[in-house]
Amino acid sequence: METPFAITLPVGTSRANHTGSWRVERPVYLHRLPPCNNACPAGENIQGWLYHAEAGEYESAWRTLVEDNPLPAIMGRVCFHPCESACNRVQVDEAVGINAVERFLGDVALEKGWALPGPGPETGRRVLVVGSGPAGLSATYHLRRAGHAVTLVDGAAQLGGMMRYGIPAYRLPRVVLDGEIERILALGVQVRLDHRVEDVAAEREAGAYDAVFMAVGAQIGRRVSVPAGDSARIVDAVNFLHAVADEDPPLLGRRVVVYGGGDTAFDAARTAKRLGASDAVIVYRRNREKMPAHGEEFEQALGEGVTMRWLSTISSFEGERLVVEKMALNEGGFPEPTGEFEELDADALVLALGQDTDLSLVAEHPEISVEGGVVSVADNLMTGLAGVFAGGDATPADRTATVAVGHGKRAARGIDDYLAGRESVTAPKHELADFSKLNTWYYADAPRQRRPELERVRRQGTFDEVILGLTEQNALFEARRCMSCGNCFGCDNCFGVCPDNAVMKIADGEYEFNYDFCKGCGICVAECPCGAIEMVPERI
């Protein structure tokens, strides 16, 4: 074609004009810390595993999950999911059902028999883990992955600690517990049961362990002095639940009163109902707002017929008469006696007033500091005695299984550093991907998928699991509700919305800026749904 001069121009010529020189700010991709990850005591990369789950790649999802937590089927049942409280989606509709998806992945893994990542190359170093609760199991797993030999000891007859002896089976079926423990043991762990460690240093020396992780939990139920007659049946919740787990439940009668307001009180009351109690009453000295038990536990218990007696303390338990004193909250929110008394009929009283740790194994070692009944530890969870680490309920932290799992990982890392003669350093956290960083327009409106629950009537006499799992379809849907806060999930928005075609799409989820043409308008940042791009001042 003979084109005329100047008025007719060939394709591609404008690319000689590098409009990038107009720019005063440049967009850059970044990772921000999703609030769920930030809130997870176990340090899970929740957004990361949801990314795989929403693609239906459940094994990849599970493998990402178990990078941090080897017990997803358990945590998917017993974790109180602070991730969901932190979830940005709360401000759109409802939190993503992270816990339900975690359980789904955990259950699929058990069903498919997926193995945890294998042990690392053997280092020849030996570590003693005392206590096989979530902290001990988690530490065992991470230590084996690092290639250290682990001896796991527990004073009980079976592994699992409070997950077995504290959490009732209707919340955590034993087949699930056993399955996830077995998977850790398959990494090659020496186990000693029914073995109580009397002195940590002596045990270490006797076994020639290079390091010790103490995860002994809090197994001693706190008692209060209740004036009681000889015939009054008073048990503490820890022992009660332990006995039930051993399939040797004590006889409590038809009318059971539980004293306390924590999750254990509700576990005890709900267990009592399942053992045949017609009345299960929880007596708590403060009110609903002050009660430490988690809301779900409370709702479940009420649904099962457990009743509450708020603002009450137990004065005495004589015969079948239990006397409570009504309390009133003072200005500081603390309960004060009112001098008003009431009587309740009761066959047994279960005390659920908190637990203490048996720290006799460190009693001889003043360098291991104990404050407020728990062991003081450094950031890497090492105690004052070099090579001896502690975690879980025996250390100052929230006493939840998830915190314990996180401690296990942290301790394993600390031990690994210690054995390598390295200083433990904590990697700096990314900036938080808070709600203001998101553009939620692009997220489809999608209500949360509910987990089905066992019919009420079937909860009366059985320990069948109450909360059921999501179907695959629902789990997939739920995973896809994740907004991927702070991390690119390949939505192509930046690639699409650039008026200057200055974003190059290399592959699905992989983009690069073409700074030759990017004018720095910032639309890509404004329209990135998940806040994974930021503008930074141009180097001039």
């Binding site: 060939p10 997220y443 489809a444 409106d445 390949g490 639309i523």
Partner: protein, 338 residues
């Protein structure tokens, strides 16, 4: 028209693409092989909505026609920033003649292609000035003859290329260089202007639709629908202008979204003069949310807000919502709280 909504895929329903979607469910813009009808190196302002809207529409048309497309462009920003000698940004067959004649030139191109027996489709395009004002006669002629042209108006509500003067598409109360924000009735006056989509519908053309750069799936579906039909068709795309509207360059898409979500800019489609579908408002907002982000409305806010003017604008938005039925059961804030 019935459109199968994209299955729920995290953000897939509203974002440009999604790794989880099948290719055919992704937008044209998510395709690394998209035409990029308007290439990098063009001289549009930062955050130009028109550059974006043109690429969105034309890339979609290129896909719909398998690349057999010729485009006629009126004079205006789009033409000026894309073809300063010796550089053109157009990667497609493109012709520019004058400001007011793009519809007629497009008619001629279509006639030539028909007589030559070539199955090449034709799009005419202009800004709002070239459409509702100076090109209006030619466009009306193209409509009534039912010439086989899709005409696209990239509406940025004023003569931006010449320095932001008022057009018949400038909304009431907006400040332009010829409707200054002074006097008892600052900005553009109420009761003027042309509603081109409805005028097009009155011509009984086969397809009329509105769209914004904020809803790409919707826009592309409309282009695809338009290109599946023959005869005169009209697509009116709202393209915010950071320069003329006094908005942040990063806010272009957001403003288009707020225009639609407030009801200020109704998004719908019509066939042969009858509205056949509307794009419902998802999260209804008050007009202030849209207005306050633009300096052309700054005189309505500040220390003594012109509440009565804002109320009149809200009434216009409400009237659109009522006329087209833009609010449905799924709309958040279906009734705005006072």
């Amino acid at each position: 028209m019935t459109r199968v909504p994209i299955r729920f895929y995290q953000v897939g329903s509203f974002a440009v693409g999604n790794r989880l979607l099948e290719d055919e469910d992704r937008t044209v813009q998510s395709d690394p092989q998209r035409t990029n009808s308007i290439d990098s190196g063009h001289r549009a302002c930062q955050g130009c909505g028109e550059a974006l809207g043109a690429r969105y529409a034309l890339d979609a048309a290129m896909r719909a026609t398998n690349g057999q497309l010729a485009v006629v462009n009126a004079t205006g920003c789009l033409e000026v920033f894309s073809t300063p000698y010796p550089e053109t940004s157009w990667r497609i067959a493109w012709l520019h003649s004058l400001f007011g004649n793009a519809p007629a030139v497009a008619t001629g191109v279509a006639a030539a292609l028909r007589v030559k027996g070539r199955d090449v489709r034709v799009i005419g395009q202009a800004g709002d000035g070239g459409t509702v004002d100076i090109g209006f006669g030619a466009l009306s002629g193209m409509f009534e003859r039912n010439d086989d042209v899709l005409f696209i108006c990239y509406d940025n509500e004023g003569y931006m290329n010449t320095g932001v003067q008022r057009s018949a598409a400038t909304p009431p109360a907006a400040r332009t260089a010829t409707t200054d924000a002074v006097g008892p009735e600052p900005g553009n006056v109420f009761g003027q202007g042309k509603d081109l989509p409805r005028i097009a519908m009155a011509h009984d053309v086969g397809y009329v639709a509105t769209a914004t750069v904020a809803d790409l799936h919707d826009l592309e579906a409309k282009v695809e629908r338009a290109m599946s039909l023959r005869g005169a068709r009209y697509l009116h795309i709202l393209v915010p202008c950071p320069l003329g509207w006094g908005s942040a360059s990063s806010d272009t898409i957001n403003l288009a979204r707020l225009a639609a979500e407030s009801g200020i800019f109704p998004v719908f489609e019509a066939e042969h003069g009858v509205v056949t579908s509307v794009t419902p408002i998802r999260r209804r907002v008050r007009v202030e949310e849209y207005l306050k982000r633009q300096k052309r409305y700054a005189h309505l806010f500040g220390t003594q807000p012109r509440l009565e003017v804002i109320a009149r604008l809200q009434a216009l938005a409400d009237a659109n919502i009522a006329r087209y039925g833009l609010v449905n059961d799924e709309t958040t804030n279906a009734t705005l709280e006072d």
